[in-house]
Each structure stands twice: as structure tokens, then as C-alpha cells.
Amino acid sequence: MRILVVEDDKDVAGFVVRGLKEAGHVVEHADNGRDGLFLAASETFDAVILDRMLPGGIDGLKILETLRGQKNHVPVLILSALAEVDERVKGLKAGGDDYLTKPFAFAELLARVEALSLRGKSEGPLTKLVVEDLELDLLSRQVKRAGQKIDLQPREFRLLEYLMRHAGQVVTRTMLLEGVWDYHFDPQTNVIDVHVSRLRQKVDKPFPTPLIQTVRNAGYMLRAEPV
């Protein structure tokens, strides 16, 4: 993936750029708003990581509004120290696809950026998700593994659907809370782990190879090979 990082803090930018490169992405970096806007508008990226408060007179939101004004629909993840709910709403209203507040864990950032670039790539509405021998039918809302029917609760179905849509990618607990439960705060107890482990009981346990993998310090991933 080709990713543009617009971030003025040298340490944060260096860390993010290094991490993204290690994860196999091609990264461009701009350390001020003017260069950031120029790069974002003139070149093609699969995703943009955008800081909100930038030097150079053009802040992150202005870049975002300009891009959207030019019908540029590149997925944008806003990375900001402005953590209030209103700020978040402002960022998303301006055209941001996701909003991550600082300080952040790199695993969370990577998972979200990769999830973003996936968005809008599927051609036409999907009716069936398939990962290895696991099949999820979105119309009949049935799940089968190796031809064997698996009974899931509605929420378990949505959890599995989310994991399958992001198959091969890391999905963090926060992403699951937001994507499956529509919760935008951090429950103190690790409720997600419990739900995932219940899903595992039904989807993985009766079968020889587990599909739901735990990624240490990050979250989960759906794929055949262990992480």
C-alpha cells in the first residue's frame, strides 16, 4: 500500500513511517500542511494519515476539506491529540474516515489504516464471505464450516462477519467495540476477549485448524496460519 503520513512531530512521524515500512507499505512523509496538501492532491495514495495541528498555515482539517472539495476520496485517518467527542465529530464531518487520538498504540494505527484502505474496494454488494473452509452467507444469515452448519447468536454473527470482512488483517478490540457493538468508549473489563473466546468455541473448537488468531499486544486476526 502507498500511504502518506502528514505529521509534524519528528519522533511520532519517524516511528509511524518506520512501522508502516516494516509492515510492507510504501510511505511518503510531509512535515507541514502545505507539503501535505500538495502531495495528497498531486499523487495517488491508498490511505492518508493526517495530523490535525500542523505548521505552515494549513491544518489537517483544511487539507481534508480541500481534498474532499476536489472529489478526492482517498481514505483518511485523522491522528490527533484533540480527543473530545466534539473534535472527533468535527474531524469525521470534514470527511475523515477514521479518527485516532494520541497517544496511540502503533498496532491500533496499523490495523485501522489497513482496514481503511480495504473500504470501498469490494465490487458490488457482497452476499457471501469465504475464508478457507468457513462460509458466511449474508442473505440467509447462515454460517458453515467444512460444510457443517454453525449456530450463532445475532451478535456472534456480526462479530464473525466483521472478522471475515477484515480477514488477513489485524482487528483491534477497539475496532470490534466500535464496529460490532457501536460503543465509542473503553469498557474497563475486557469484554471483547470473552466474546471472541465464545465465538472460538463455536467456530474453531470442533475443527482441526483454528481460524481466529490472537495477535499479541494488538487484537485478533482471521486466517489459517497462526501469527
Partner: protein, 497 residues
């Protein structure tokens, strides 16, 4: 105050001058006393009490002037109009006579009219083209009367007596001239009397306006002085000061109450800030120390890269914990600031309870705790949906966390006409009565909570959400365990609009 008095007086002068037909119409003179330097005038006008006083004085003077003008118009003015009408009628009659019988008829008529004039106030003078007298009771044509159709008021000499007369000149064909008038000596005296009375009245009004203006100003100042003194005291650091109420319940009392409410709220917010900064200083020191120790320990004593990595990961986890505490604190602060009230709307609480129960049901089951939900199919509520959800989640989280294996957590919700009540009860160790009041303070952790993870912010957030909704959070003994009741009042219809 230098400008208050002259204003009504000047108005008064104008009133007295304008209706007098003899006087040349005097244009309203421009503020002659605007002598004080411009800066001080501006300064005075910047004082609201002065403005109110001036407005009062000007209003009073203007109404008095209007009244005086009307009085004049309906008395002295009426007399003048009557005189003019009589002269007009005379002229009409005489010109008809002239048309019928020429000069002899006119002379006869004038003499007839003079003879029949009981009041002896009629004045006639008919002259030939050379201004020589033909008939009438004036000896000479007054030299200054030259314009026909204009009104003249002047002293004339008649039968040896000089008196004031109102005259009009008519030019007849063949160069004859006719002067018709009325003796207005008595009326003029009456007018003078009236003018004097009105002028005096205006002087009195001016004095009253000044006195009234001073009174208005001092009233205004006295009312504001109370508020102003309180504000000054608070600005100087004495936050305990409050605006005194007069007890009359008037607008100023209402204002004072509003200001006091505002001050109370500011005080509470300030206490909150103080409490939070103290709490941060004390309670975040521990995890920060832990993280720092881990890192330093690893730097000094780790022998293998794996040890080092493990230490760094643990320190990172500690820091993440600190960040989580910060985020929780900021969220509470954000809720307390009340800015989220714009997101209020009507929503159904029932599915929200179902979601929370579903989310925590799995955790509860894992701990062999049963989570029992009892709620009607529909619970109309009003507020910030996300915050209410988080508050309920926090209560359920606490209840599940503190429940012993085999315990029951009950989540109930009831819709009352005046609001919604959400009750979460557990069978855990409970909160000792002495701690219950402090349980909603930030960072407060009871004895029983020492062994469980958490920062002591969960109930503080629920409390903040309750207050934001003007509801309440009540903690009671459930014997055993805690029963937390979150009440969200129904919106008054105006607010929900």
C-alpha cells in the same frame, strides 16, 4: 448632569416662541451648552446610569412640552383664530357691500358697523389712493402696514388711547385701501399671563426632571452597586461572596439569583478542578512511578534482549493504563462542562439496556454470575444516548466485577411519568455507609475495591452523566451488595421541543 437641566428649558422656550404669530419663527437653537470637552461628555454617556437619567429627564420634558403646546393651542391660539375669523367675516361682508353699492355703500356700512359695535373692539379704516382717511375709527393709516393679506399686530392710536390691535390690509379697486382689525389688548394680556404660567410650569418641570433623573440614577447605581461589589470581591479572590437579595422578588432579585447560581456552579467546577488536580498529583504518581521503575530497572539489570523487551512492554502497558485514566478524566471533565447537552435527543432505553446486558452477559457468565434484566419493551428517555449507555455499562461493569461466583446482578429499568429509573444491584461486598457519599468522587476506591483492577473513575463518570441530565445517582445497601439507582428526569416539553 450639566446637560439635563437646559434641555427641557430650551424646549420650553421654543414652545413659548413658536405659536406667537408676531415673533419671527425661531429655529431650535443648537445645544449652546455643549461647551464641556467632548471626552468628558462621551465618558458621561458611557455611564448607563447617566443614560437612564437623561432618558428619564428628556422623556419627562418632552411630555411636558407637548402638554404645554396643546394648552397654548387650545387657549391663546383659539383666541387668535377667533379674531382672525371675525376679521375675515368682516372683510367678506364689506367687499360684498363694495361690489353692490360702490364707495358710498361701503362708507355707510363701515359707519353702521362702528355704531353697532357694542364691545368697541372693531377697527376700520377706508382710505383713498393717497392714503387719506375716508371713513373709519383710525386717524391715520399705520405706516408699516404695506402688504395685503398679511397679519399685523401693533399698537394703534384710537380716540386718544393707544392699544394693541390685530390688522389686515385689503386693497380695493380704483386704488382705495381698507384696513380691518380688532382690538386685542385684553387678549394680549391674557396671552402674556398664560405664557408666564407655562414658562414657570416648564421651569418646575425642568427642576422635577433633574431631581427625577438624579433619583433614577442613584436607584440604578444602588441596585448595581450590590452586584458590582460582589463581582469586585470575587475578582479580588473572595469567592464566598454572593449578591444580596432584597427579598422583593423583583427583576433585580431574579438577576441576583441567576448570578448567584452561576457563581455556585463556577465554584463547583473550580472545586472539581482542584479535586482533579490533587487526585492527579496523588493517584497518578503510583502508576508513573511503577512504569519509571520498570524502565530504569530494565536499563540497569536486564541481561538478555528478551528481559529488556518484556520490561519495556510492561512499562508500555503501565503507560497505557495512565493514558486510559487521563482519557476517563477528560471525558468526565467534558461531561461536567455540559457541552454535550447539544447532543440530547429522545431515544428508547430498552434496546440500549439489551445491548449492555448482551455485552456483559458473556463476562458475567464467565465469572459464574447471572445477569438478570427486567425492563419493559419500551422505555422512552431523553438525553445523550452514548453517555447514558456508558453510564449503564459502568454500573453493570462494577456490579459484575464485584459479584462473587454464583451471585446475581439485577439490571432493572422503569419508566415513570417524571423520568426513567435504572437500577443495578449486585450481591458483592457492598460499600460501607461511611464511604458511600465519597464513592462517586474521582479516584475514590473503597477497601473492597483494592484487589480489583480499576482507577476509581467509573462511578464518578456515572455521577457526571446523571448531573448532566439533571438526574441523580443513588447508592444504597442491597444487603448484601450495592444497589445503584440512576434517575434521568423526563424533559420538560419546552426543552425537548
Amino acid at each position: 448632569m450639566g446637560r439635563v437641566l437646559p434641555l427641557p428649558l430650551r424646549e420650553g422656550e421654543n414652545v413659548a416662541a413658536t405659536p406667537s404669530p408676531a415673533a419671527t419663527p425661531s429655529s431650535p437653537t443648537t445645544v449652546p451648552s455643549a461647551a464641556p470637552p467632548r471626552r468628558s461628555t462621551l465618558f458621561l454617556f458611557r455611564s448607563a446610569s447617566f443614560r437612564f437619567a437623561v432618558v428619564y429627564a428628556v422623556l419627562l420634558a418632552a411630555s411636558a412640552a407637548a402638554l404645554a403646546m396643546f394648552l397654548w393651542w387650545s387657549t391663546a391660539g383659539l383666541l387668535d383664530r377667533q379674531t382672525e375669523a371675525a376679521i375675515h367675516a368682516d372683510a367678506q361682508g364689506l367687499s360684498e357691500r363694495w361690489a353692490e353699492g360702490g364707495l358710498p355703500a361701503l362708507v355707510l356700512t363701515i359707519e353702521d358697523r362702528l355704531a353697532g359695535n357694542v364691545d368697541d373692539d372693531a377697527i376700520y379704516l377706508l382710505t383713498d389712493p393717497m392714503m387719506r382717511r375716508i371713513a373709519g375709527n383710525l386717524e391715520r393709516w399705520p405706516a408699516s402696514v404695506r402688504q395685503p393679506a398679511a397679519w399685523y399686530e401693533m399698537p394703534v392710536r384710537r380716540a386718544g388711547i393707544t392699544s394693541l390691535a390685530r390688522l389686515q390690509r385689503y386693497d380695493l379697486p380704483n386704488g382705495f385701501h381698507l384696513l380691518i382689525g380688532r382690538d386685542v389688548q385684553v387678549r394680549a394680556q391674557l396671552r402674556t399671563l398664560l405664557t408666564d404660567a407655562l414658562l414657570w410650569a416648564l421651569v418646575i418641570v425642568g427642576a422635577m426632571a433633574t431631581a427625577g433623573a438624579l433619583l433614577v440614577r442613584s436607584l440604578f447605581r444602588r441596585t448595581l452597586a450590590n452586584v458590582s461589589a460582589t463581582a469586585t470581591a470575587i475578582a479580588a479572590g473572595d469567592f464566598a461572596q454572593r449578591v444580596k437579595l432584597s427579598g422583593r422578588g423583583d427583576e433585580f432579585d431574579q438577576l441576583a439569583e441567576t448570578i448567584n447560581d452561576m457563581l455556585d456552579r463556577i465554584g463547583r467546577l473550580m472545586d472539581g478542578v482542584r479535586q482533579v488536580s490533587n487526585a492527579i498529583a496523588h493517584d497518578l504518581r503510583t502508576p508513573i512511578t511503577r512504569a519509571r521503575t520498570r524502565l530504569e530497572d530494565a536499563a540497569l539489570h536486564a541481561h538478555t534482549p528478551d528481559d529488556l523487551r518484556a520490561a519495556i512492554e510492561r512499562a508500555t502497558a503501565d503507560l497505557d493504563g495512565i493514558v486510559a485514566v487521563f482519557q476517563a478524566l477528560m471525558r468526565i471533565a467534558e461531561i461536567e462542562a455540559g457541552s454535550r447537552r447539544s447532543a440530547f435527543c429522545r431515544f428508547d432505553l430498552a434496546p440500549l439496556l439489551g445491548d449492555v446486558a448482551e455485552l456483559y452477559g458473556a463476562v458475567a457468565e464467565d465469572r459464574q454470575v447471572s445477569l438478570v434484566v427486567a425492563a419493559p419493551a419500551q422505555i422512552p428517555a431523553y438525553g445523550d444516548r452514548d453517555l447514558v449507555q456508558q453510564a449503564i455499562a459502568n454500573l453493570v461493569d462494577n456490579a459484575v466485577k464485584f459479584s462473587p461466583a454464583g451471585g446475581v446482578v439485577r439490571l432493572r429499568a422503569m419508566a415513570h411519568p417524571d423520568g426513567v429509573e435504572i437500577v443495578v444491584a449486585d450481591q458483592g461486598p457492598g460499600i460501607p455507609a461511611g464511604d458511600r457519599a465519597r464513592a462517586t468522587e474521582r479516584f475514590f476506591r473503597g477497601e473492597a475495591a483494592r484487589s480489583t483492577p480499576g482507577a476509581g473513575l467509573g462511578l464518578a463518570l456515572v455521577q457526571a452523566v446523571a448531573l448532566l441530565h439533571q438526574g441523580s445517582l443513588r447508592l444504597e445497601d442491597a444487603e448484601p451488595g450495592v444497589q445503584a439507582t440512576l434517575t434521568l428526569p423526563a424533559p420538560d416539553d419546552a426543552a425537548a421541543g
